[in-house]
Symmetry: C2
Subunit: 243 residues, 2 copies
DNA sequence: ACAAAAGTGTTTTTTATACACCCATGC
DNA sequence: GCATGGGTGTATAAAAAACACTTTTGT
């Protein structure tokens, strides 16, 4: 009765509802804050707890479609990166499952997303409403969502090191310092020296100087760079390190 | 009607059966063959096609439990590595889904496994029976299983480069040449020079010389090494490269 | 003039790559 | 004694890491 190891042949096939839960990050480059999108639950279970934005998958809808649907219900955004994260499905992970052994199961396919902060508008109508929350100060979440969030943060850090997702989310043109601040905000202060970071990135050859400059208060104006898709495509397969 | 983009709010929540499909690799170190475990389907859909060994998740059973259950129904093995791979769930991926829009859906949570070849016995009773197949010569599989297999092979290659899964599957003691052959079989001939591979691995410091030697035909006897869990644990977090 | 921000260069250490060569055994 | 598989060493190139220094702006 509810025994996880009871897998004898006589057990019936389980019936599942499939939820998609999104771990949506953004980097506030103005204030160097790493943010996570959360919603406050109105209903039981876990009423008044924060949770990851999620939804149940509808008939005719793919998992990825469902992930994009949640996203578009909570925020408006043009620039983002999204990929599947992990699937959580042990019996008992959702209290809505019947105690009855024939009861339905709730499975969560989680998705990882990174969105451009400046570009994102929270949708205020609709319920529950989503809010940005500091990752460093994230609360106890509903269900097993803290575990999913941790998993997502690991993925974010890994992705940043060997794939160009930052450029999906930075403005069209950016300074090398913008890029460095972005990395620092996600990976922590001492992930790399600025000078070495800069040299490494420029040597890779897919950042092109636009010739434009931008001045931000005192100090020398910074050169604006652009991510060159074509130059990057050539390197696509080689193991890249952005560290 | 079966439109993937039909995600309007009126659609009902889909009902899912959840399948677990395993991509099970082994390396035949005697003959340097990379093998994949397949079963021949007896029933429609895809009768007489090979497929990955899979099962539907039962009531009270976790996804991982289901993955281990398939494994144990097809093979007996003591030494293995297993982890979740990816979840495939677009509508229409399984022909058993009703055309009816209210029909049930079939979702596949795939698992990746690496097992010790010499240690593995195929279970001959039971139906359908599993057989080892050369990865390089794998047939057209049922469902979307070729896609899952490709995904699994990518994972295998990546894992080998930065995590010590090979040692889960090699014998307790092994020669550095055994290890090198293992890597070569999976990654291809020219992944690295033997001498450099050897030097790199030994420098990492988690391979301890047992003092034992083994002689294989002509030539100098080879030193037998052992994987030292404790010495490895220290390096756990640092980015490792076994290339 | 000087602080602030951007950008360049140099030095040292470590790692990768490509080899050449020596060692121990069976036949 | 020589082929065979095992093992060591070296020389060069490339990359990582630390840090000093110059340039260009605003005030």
């Amino acid at each position: 009765m509810g025994n996880h190891n009871l897998t004898s042949i006589e057990q019936p096939i389980a019936e599942f509802k499939v939820g998609v839960d999104n771990v949506i990050f953004s980097v506030d480059t103005q204030q160097n804050r790493l943010l996570i999108l959360l919603v406050k639950r109105k209903k039981a279970p876990f009423a008044n707890f924060f949770s990851l934005p999620g939804t149940l998958v509808k008939a005719g809808e793919s998992l990825e479609d469902a992930a994009y649907r949640i996203l578009s219900e909570k925020i408006e955004v043009d620039n983002l990166y999204l990929e599947q994260l992990y699937t959580f499905g042990e019996p008992g992970r959702d209290p809505r499952e019947n105690q009855d052994i024939f009861g339905e199961r709730y499975l969560s396919v989680s998705y990882f997303a990174l969105v451009r902060y400046e570009d994102t508008h929270l949708i205020t109508k609709g319920n529950p409403q989503a809010v940005w929350h500091l990752l460093n100060d994230s609360p106890k979440l509903a269900f097993d969502h803290n575990r999913i969030l941790d998993y997502g943060y690991q993925r974010l850090k890994n992705k940043l090191e060997y794939s160009p997702i930052a450029f999906k989310v930075l403005p069209e043109v950016f300074t090398l310092n913008d890029l460095y601040q972005f990395y620092t905000t996600v990976l922590g202060e001492n992930f790399s020296d600025y000078s070495n970071f800069r040299a490494r990135l420029l040597k890779l050859g897919f950042l092109t100087d636009t010739g434009l400059k931008v001045s931000r208060g005192a100090g020398r104006p910074a050169a604006l760079y652009r991510f060159d898709e074509e130059a990057f495509a050539v390197l696509q397969d080689k193991p890249l390190v952005f560290i």
